[in-house]
Amino acid sequence: MTAAASPSAAAPAGPTENAVELVGVTYGYDSHRPVLRGIDMTIPRGRVVAIMGGSGCGKTTILRLIGGQLHPQAGRVLVGGQSVPDLDREALYAMRRRIGMLFQFGALFTDLTVFENIAFTLREHTNLPDELIRDLVLMKLNAVGLRGTAQLRPAELSGGMARRVALARAIALDPMLVLYDEPFAGLDPISLGVVGKLIRELNDALGITSVVVTHDVYESLKIVDYLYFVSEGRIIAQGTPQEVHASPDPFVRQFVDGASDGPVPFHYPAPPYAEELAVHAR
């Protein structure tokens, strides 16, 4: 569990080309408060890599940088060897057609049925006949175990089912990379296990690369090949699940054990308590 470790070294044998690379990436929503400070990250093809950290540490910002929704203020973001910030609109959209993204609460189109949600990208980006689109949609739904929900509306689905439908939508165009933004948030234990299993199985079966942004440490350790821990905009630890389990790093320990105090303090910075309460020595 060191900063020199790399996900490709730890992962099983396979193609060595990197699906995603972040080199010295710095980003802030305003100039005074950088959210990310010099992030270096390598995500080889075919791996499931988790980016973990507390709320507001910049995990989702990393996904937005990979997807080209944000541009780094410094550093490079490469997807499939292409520099994302340098892509023009057409090239960016061409790249996004090879990326699937699962949003935190699914982001299903509420005015469309489950079937039409999954058919959406197929209809937008291909000229496939309706019969073929129907078969493809049913295959994707079957892969997530929800073929029977095709004619339901998103409002009729449970949170876990909506997440699985969104996953089917994310893989509709057979992407090379799938980005998961908090896929386990707010799920019951059964749905959580199902979604975790699907992420791993779909990754291996379809030969894709998965980047999972999450703070669910136990579920992640079961399914990922490699983990990055982000805190205050920096990568402060990284390693395989085995290395994380064995790590003595105080931050990793606090995160894995769920301790309320540690390197991430319980108290938000504030003036001395006694001073605030106007308690004076007598």
Binding site: Y93, A94, R97, F103, F105, A107, F109, F120, E124
Partner: protein, 267 residues
């Protein structure tokens, strides 16, 4: 201390002005981008027809009922006043001109802003809040082309049709009151109206107004939805802003257009 308060006040006014100008600039760029995407959106007729249904067809009830009642009230009030001067037979002219030139486009525009404009803003704002627009972007589908442009054109196409329907229902309401209830001569009511109202300029001016109002209301509605803060409060404020801004825009544009139309007619 007073100097500091003055500076702070000036700073707030300045910040407000800069924000307003920058928002106006953003709205202008937004309009230009929507127009650029419009040909592609209009070619996908199913999308635009769907929005005409939501903005236009679903507004039919409120437009028709309001038109009928406005016409009936105009009939009663107009007859009462005209009859004092022995001109009760001119009720058809009075009601027809009022509705076609002015009340049809303006009242239909205000109702359209409240019914369809607010719905468009709320729908786009909620799509933004629930990350549906971001999801679309990540699927390499431009929300301005797929979501905004069809809604804009759905509103622009619906508005003149609704205004025309409002005027028709208004005239019918005045007919019910004037001819059926009060007992005016049927031939005089319709004959005077036909003789006094010309297609050019009366009807065309009304159509021009309703088209301009349709563009203004639809643009404000889609812009406010797209620019809404992605929170429940943000969507609520955006919806309110749509109704207020669209209503004020209709009234201001109505005055400006009327000035030009009267000058054009040599009035």
């Amino acid at each position: 201390m007073p100097a500091e308060a003055v500076f702070n006040g000036l700073r707030r006014v300045g910040a407000g002005a800069i924000n307003a100008v920058s928002r106006l600039g953003f709205a202008a760029r937004f309009f230009a981008v929507v127009l650029i995407h419009s040909p592609a959106a209009l070619r996908r007729t199913r999308l635009t027809l769907r929005e005409i249904y939501f903005a236009g067809v679903l507004s039919l009830v409120i437009i028709m009922v309001s038109g009928l009642f406005v016409g009936m009230v105009l009939g009663l009030q107009g007859y009462d006043t005209l009859n004092k001067y022995g001109a009760g037979d001119s009720l058809g002219i009075f009601v027809g001109l009022s509705l076609v030139r002015e009340l049809g486009p303006v009242v239909a525009g205000l109702l359209f802003a409240s019914r369809a404009g607010s719905a468009i803003t709320a729908e786009i704002g909620l799509m933004k809040t629930t990350e549906q627009l971001a999801a679309m972007e990540m699927m390499a589908v431009d929300p301005l082309a797929r979501i905004v442009a069809p809604r804009f054109w759905g509103g622009v196409i619906s508005m003149p049709l609704l205004a025309a329907l409002f005027s028709v229902m208004g005239v019918f309401g005045a007919y019910l009151v004037g001819v059926r209830l009060i007992g005016l001569d049927n031939g005089a009511f319709w004959g005077n109206m036909r003789a006094a109202i010309d297609f050019w300029p009366d009807v065309t001016n009304g159509i021009v107004k309703s088209v301009v109002f349709g563009i203004a209301v639809s643009l404000i509605a889609v812009f406010e939805g797209y620019d809404a803060m992605p929170t429940a409060e943000g969507v609520s404020s955006a919806t309110t802003r749509t109704v207020v801004e669209a209503s004020l825009a209709i009234l201001a544009l109505d005055f400006i257009l009327t000035v030009f139309m009267f000058r054009g007619m040599g009035g």
